[in-house]
Amino acid sequence: MGETISRRETLALAGAAGIAATAGPFRPAIAQSTPTLTFGGTIPFSGRWAEIGQSVHAGYQTVVKYVNEEQGGLDVGGRKVRLEIKVVDDASDPQRATTLLQRQIDDGVQYFLGSYSSPIILPQAAIINRARRPMVQAGGGADAIFTQGYRYVFGMYPRASRSAFPAVDAFEALTPKPRTFTVVYANDPFSKPQGEGVIARLREKGMEVIDTVELPATVQDVSAMLAAVRAKTPDVLMCVTSDQTSLLIARQVAQSQTDLKMLFTSLGPQATSFREALGKFAEGITCISTWSETFPYKDPIFGSTAKFVEYYKKHNNLPLIYHQGTAAGCIVAYAWALQQVGRVDDPNAVRDALARIDIESLYGRIKFTPDGDGDPVLMGSSVTQVQGTDLKVIYPQQLAEARTLWPIRPFSQR
C-alpha cells in the first residue's frame, strides 16, 4: 500500500508542475505479451458512500485478480486477454464523477463499471449512452436510470420500485398469514420509490397497511414514531431505510419493548456490526439481500458461489457483504458477453450480447429487462433473517436455508 501511494504522490506532484500531465492518457500496462482490456469507471472511495464503494471495488477486483492470476487471462476468441480495472475516486460527488468519467471515455476506455448511488449513476448514464459504451453497474437502482431509453446501461438488480417485492411475497407465504402492516420509508431517491413499491405490492396482495411513515434521510430519534406504532401495533413493521436508520429503529423497538410479530428492515442485518450491536435482540429481524455468500449457484469463472467466497476470503480482509457479490456479477456478465462476441474492440456488439444474456453465475441468474434493469423475478433479491448470529436465507423457497422464525420472540421476553 505504502508503495503505491508514494508512486501516486509523485505522479500528482509531477502533475502539479504541468496541467498537461493530468490529461495524459492512462499509462499502458507494463509491456506484456497478452493484450489488456480495461474497465473504467468511478467509485466513491470517500464521502458519503465510501464504505460501500470499497466493497464494490473489492468485488470487481476479486474477479479480475482471479481471471488474471489463476486463469492467465480471459479467453476471448481464442486469445488470452488480461483484465484491468482503472477506477478513480468520485468522492460521492456527481459533478466530479461526470468529469472523471468523461476523461476515461476520451482516453478510449470502452467498458465501464458502476459507481454507487443513483445521483451519481444517473448523470453518468447519460454520458455513457451518448458515447455508446456499455456500463454494467450494481450501484444505481433509481427508476429514472432505466426509464429514459439509455440502451447502454445495465443494472444488476431490479429498479427501486420493484426491488423489495420479494419481501412482501415472503410475508405473504407465511402461515398463519400476517394481517396488518406498517410501512416506514426514508425520504431518499432509492428508499422512497422502494417503500412506495412495497405499499403498492402489499395492497395488490390484499394485505392491510394500517399506517405509513415517511422518515427524513437521516434521523437521530424515532421514539415518537414508535410511540405511534405501539398505539396500533401491526403484525409486521416494514422499514425501508438505510443501515444507520435501521439500527436506530431496531434498537429503539427493542428498548421500548414494542412487541411485533415481525420486524423487517431493508438494510442493516446483512452487516456484522448491526448484529453485534443488537446482540440477542437481532434474532428474527429480516432484510432483503441481493446476494448471499451461501447461494448454491454455479459460475462460469469460479465454478460456484462457494468457490468465489473462498477465493475472496483468502485475499481480502474487508467483510464480505452483498455488494461484493453484485459487483463480481458485473464482471462475470461482461466476461460472458465478451466471449460471445469473440473480440474485445466492439463495445456495440458487447452491449447487444449483454442485452440477451441469460446465464447462471455466482450472483444468481443474470437476465436484464429490455430497459436494462434486473429482471424483477429472476434477479429479485432473496429475503434473509437473523437466526443465531448468522443470516439465513428464508425466501425464495428454492434457496431457503432455514425455516422462517414466525412470529419472532417478543422483545419484552428476551
Binding site: R8, V88, D89, D90, P94, Q95, T99, Q102, L122, A144
Partner: protein, 327 residues
C-alpha cells in the same frame, strides 16, 4: 471610460474570445474540466460580490445554487418548449428570478446581522431551504428531478455547456467589475473597512448591502441553473450541498481576497487540484483538501495572488508602490 478601464475590457474580451475558441478544439474531457472551472469560478464570483467586496461571509450560498437548480428543473418540467434557445432561456430565467426573489425576501432581515451571526444565518437559510426541498413532496428533492437535454443535437453537450458557462462567468465578472467601479462598489468597500463609520459618513449602507446581496444571489442562481442543466439529474443532496458553499469561500481565499482575480485563480487551481489530480488519491483526498485549506490560512493568508504580489515586490526591490488595486 479611462484608458486603463478600456485596456482591461479589451484584455478581458480577448481572454473570453480565446477561451471560446479553445472550446472548438479541446477534447471532451478538457471541455468538462473547463466547464467545472467556469461553474465554480462563477459561483465564487457570485459569493465574492458580497463576501469579498463587503466582507459579509455567507456560509450558505449553496442555497442560491439549489434554488436556481430547482427553479430551472421545475419550470422545464412544467412547460416543455421546443428549441434550445427557449429552453435555456426559460430555465436560466426562472433560476435567476427565483434566486432574486429569495434574496429580496431575506435581504433586509438577514443583512441586519453582522459577522458570525450573518454567517450562521445564511447557513440556516440554506439548511431550511434544503430540508424544505426534500420534505415537501411538490419539490421532489428527495427522489430527484430530471432535466431535459437542452443541448442542440448538432453540438456536443459538453461543448455546449462549456460555452454556456463561459458566457455566464463572463457576465458574472462583468457585473462584479461594474459594481466595483460604481458608487455601489465604493459603498461596499467602505462597509468592509468599517460599517459604522461608513454609515455615519452618509453611505447608504443598507441599500448597498441589499443591492450587492441581490446581485450575488442572482448570479449564483444562474450558475446553479447551468450546473443542473449540465448534470441532467438533481437531488437536494447534489445542489444544496455545504461543500458548494465552502468551495466558493475556499476558492476566493486560495486565490486571494484582494481582487476579482482571486476567486478566478482560486477556482482554476482548486478545481484542477481537487477534481482532477486528486482523483488518483482515492481515500486520502478529503484530508488533503483540508490540509490545503489550513496551509493557505497559515502560509498565504492573502491567497496565491497575495503571495505572487509579495514575491514580485521582492524582485522589484521592495517597491511598495507597485501594489495592485485594493479591490
Amino acid at each position: 471610460m479611462s484608458a486603463r478601464a478600456l485596456m482591461s475590457v479589451a484584455l478581458g474580451a480577448a481572454a473570453v474570445g480565446g477561451l471560446a475558441w479553445l472550446g472548438t478544439v479541446l477534447s471532451p474531457f478538457h471541455l468538462r474540466v473547463g466547464l467545472s472551472i467556469f461553474l465554480s469560478a462563477g459561483m465564487a464570483i457570485g459569493w465574492y460580490i458580497l463576501g469579498g467586496f463587503a466582507r459579509y461571509y455567507s456560509f450558505g450560498h449553496t442555497v442560491f445554487v439549489g434554488v436556481g437548480a430547482f427553479a430551472a428543473a421545475l419550470t422545464l418540467q412544467t412547460w416543455r418548449f421546443d428549441g434550445w434557445v427557449l429552453q435555456v432561456a426559460t430555465g436560466v430565467g426562472a433560476a435567476m428570478a427565483a434566486s432574486a426573489v429569495l434574496a429580496a425576501v431575506i435581504a433586509l432581515p438577514i443583512l441586519r446581522l453582522r459577522g458570525h451571526y450573518f454567517t450562521i444565518a445564511m447557513l440556516a437559510v440554506a439548511l431550511v431551504c434544503a430540508e424544505a426541498a426534500s420534505a415537501f413532496p411538490v419539490f421532489r428533492g428527495s427522489i430527484g428531478l430530471t432535466l431535459p437535454d437542452v443541448a442542440p443535437p448538432s453540438v456536443r453537450p459538453e461543448r455546449f455547456f462549456y460555452w454556456m458557462s463561459l458566457g455566464a462567468v463572463t457576465l458574472a465578472v462583468a457585473v462584479a467589475a461594474l459594481i466595483a467601479r460604481a458608487r455601489l462598489g465604493y459603498g461596499l468597500f467602505a462597509i468592509r473597512e468599517d460599517e459604522d463609520a461608513a454609515q455615519m459618513l452618509g453611505v447608504p449602507t443598507t441599500r448597498c448591502k441589499v443591492l450587492a446581496f441581490l446581485a450575488s444571489g442572482t448570479i449564483t442562481g444562474l450558475m446553479g441553473a447551468l450546473y443542473a442543466l449540465n448534470l441532467g439529474y438533481i437531488t437536494t443532496d447534489s445542489v444544496f450541498r455545504g461543500a458548494l458553499s465552502l468551495d466558493m469561500i475556499v476558492n476566493s481565499l486560495v486565490g486571494g481576497m484582494g481582487s476579482l482575480f482571486g476567486p478566478l485563480v482560486g477556482a482554476v487551481v482548486m478545481t484542477l487540484l481537487t477534481k482532477v489530480m486528486l482523483g488518483d488519491f482515492l481515500e486520502y483526498h478529503l484530508a488533503i483538501t483540508g490540509l490545503i485549506v489550513v496551509a493557505i490560512v497559515f502560509l498565504a493568508p492573502d491567497g496565491l495572488l497575495g503571495l505572487a504580489e509579495k514575491a514580485w515586490r521582492r524582485v522589484r526591490g521592495g517597491n511598495a508602490g507597485g501594489g495592485a488595486d485594493p479591490r
